[in-house]
Amino acid sequence: MNVLPVEMGLLLAGVLFTLGLISVLIRRNIIFMLISVEIMLNAAGLAFIVAGSRWAQADGQVMFIFILTMAAAEVSVGLALILQIYHHLKTLDSDAADKMNG
């Protein structure tokens, strides 16, 4: 069985993380921003899995389950917030919610 080298897995996680980060920065639609954050979370999870399999430890998978749980909670809170923002501003543009400027 061909073993995928660790570097490849980590590179994939890094690429995914960077893509997610870039789209958080450039997207203005708040739902897309939420999705991008999910991508970043999963990239981090992937890095844990790869590291866990490299060292043959269960800790990596345990951490991934934690991240999964946390992501679920985050999505539920985030979606509720998005609903409220849409309710108030009638738009999903995050730049429109700039009332808290100094």
Binding site: V24, L25, I26, A97, D98, M100, N101
Partner: protein, 628 residues
Amino acid sequence: MINLLWLIPTLPFLSALILIFVGSRLSWRIAALIGAGSIGLAAVLTILVGYDFLSSGKEAYLHVAWNWFQAGDLSTTFAFYLDSLSMVFIFVITFVGFLIHIYSIEFMQEDEGFSRFFAYLNLFVCSMLILVLADNLVLLYLGWEGVGLCSYLLIGFWYSEEKNGYAARKAFIITRVGDTAMAIGLFMLFTVFHTLNIQDILSQAPLVWTTGASMAVVIAFLLLGGAVGKSAQLPLQTWLPDAMAGPSPVSALIHAATMVTAGVYLITRMHIVYELAPLAQLWVGIIGAITLLVAGFSALTQFDLKRVLAYSTISQIGYMFLAMGVGAWSAAVFHFMIHAFFKALLFLAAGAVIMALHHEHDMFRMGGLKTKLPVIYWTFLIGAASLAALPFVTAGFYSKDQILWLAWAGEKGNLWFFLAALTGAVVTAIYTFRMVFITFFGEAKTKVSHIPGMRITIPLIILATLSLAGGFIELPHTLGHFTLFSDYLSPLLPSVALKDGIESTEWTIQLVTAVLALGGVYFAYILYVKQPKISDEIKSSTFELHQFWFRGWDFDALYNLLFVRPFVYLSRVNKNDVIDQFYMGLVQITEYFNSTFVKTQSGILRWYVMGIVVGAILIMTISLFVQP
């Protein structure tokens, strides 16, 4: 009874506390009862304590109330020390003070600040009692400052008028100049003796210092500075004439029983230090001599009844300083006591006149009161006679004659002191009877609206009796040679050594003094009753001099030029406060950063994310290069 000594200052203090806290809710009857009653009780106690003290034959009695504070070498007790000198003072303070309180009940009856007035008066008496009973100089200084505070409160009693507040501040600040000198003197005393207990200092001083030791001279001068401030002597005398802004009983209290005599007390109490510092003692005499002349001439030109009396007080205290300058300690204390009687009498009588004439202060608008206010007239006349030292019948004659004689014949006396005192005696007689003739003789110019009642006349009569009879406890060699007063003080205060073979001249000196006093009165009679034109001519021909004297020798203008103007100028230059600029700068820098960084808080979510990313990258980069 003597162990009740501590009650004498405590009673006025308690009643002052009561009046301060609940005074406004008491009716004037009760407030008067508490205010005057406490002083009355203190006066009764003084007589009982005095009787006990004199019959016990002890030299001194010490009552330690408690240990006040202790720091290093300095251990200060709250202790009262009674000896023959403080006995004289507490007798005068409580007794004359009591009469003034009785008088004030009627004088201030209509005033809305009635209970406040009595609270201040009581506190005043209490501070003065602490001052003269203090066993150590720290406690004395407490009383000293308490007296200063109360004088400020009472001079500015009618504070709604701006000039009264000004007079009060002036009195406070000018006496503070002297107090500062005195405080430095106390510090230096402590460095030399490591104690501030008066008796310890007095007993050690002759062992530590030789006569004329420079430290003794410096300390004596500094203490003299304090005395000069409180006793309104040259060059710090300018506050006293303005202090007339207070109600008349206050003036009586300040001038007779409390405050201005504190300086006389201090120097007499520390007389051993002054005897070790002949230069300082000489200057006590010089200051006294100059002051008595300066103030006497100023008194000649005043038209406000109370200001004449104010200048005459400065002048009479000058006599006391002169007496102390020639070492005639008991003569100074004797003149203090007699002066307290007649000056309280004169101020109270003047207050009654002013009240009777609708608060008219100008003597030239009075006149003809001889028949309208006979009691006031006769008592005022007695007080004036005592002040002018009319021979043989008045107490003032005996006390002043003693000073004149010792200035001439005493070992430390000299011709200049004697001439100054003699000139002062003539001037005193002239201005005193000028005041009497203008106020009570001639035509009536203002209608009498208020006939004084019992509470005003009875204190006047008692004080008038004392002003006449008080002198008979000390008679000169030539007239009976009765020396009760100086015998009584002799264990404490040394008598004056006379020059050789000078005693035969005593008759001559007395005759000259008597003739000059009578001559002064006659001169005033001619000028102000017989030939008023002459006085007007003198006034117009020497108008410049008259105005100069009237303004109190322009000391106010001088101090304005020397101190007030430069100070005001400096404060105007430094209006923005140099030191404050630094703190203002700090505030400005902080505000600049605030306004800069506030722009980064745009409210746009993506900018914040960018900030986090940049920060994370920075930290990671740094952690790559910097090994922990």
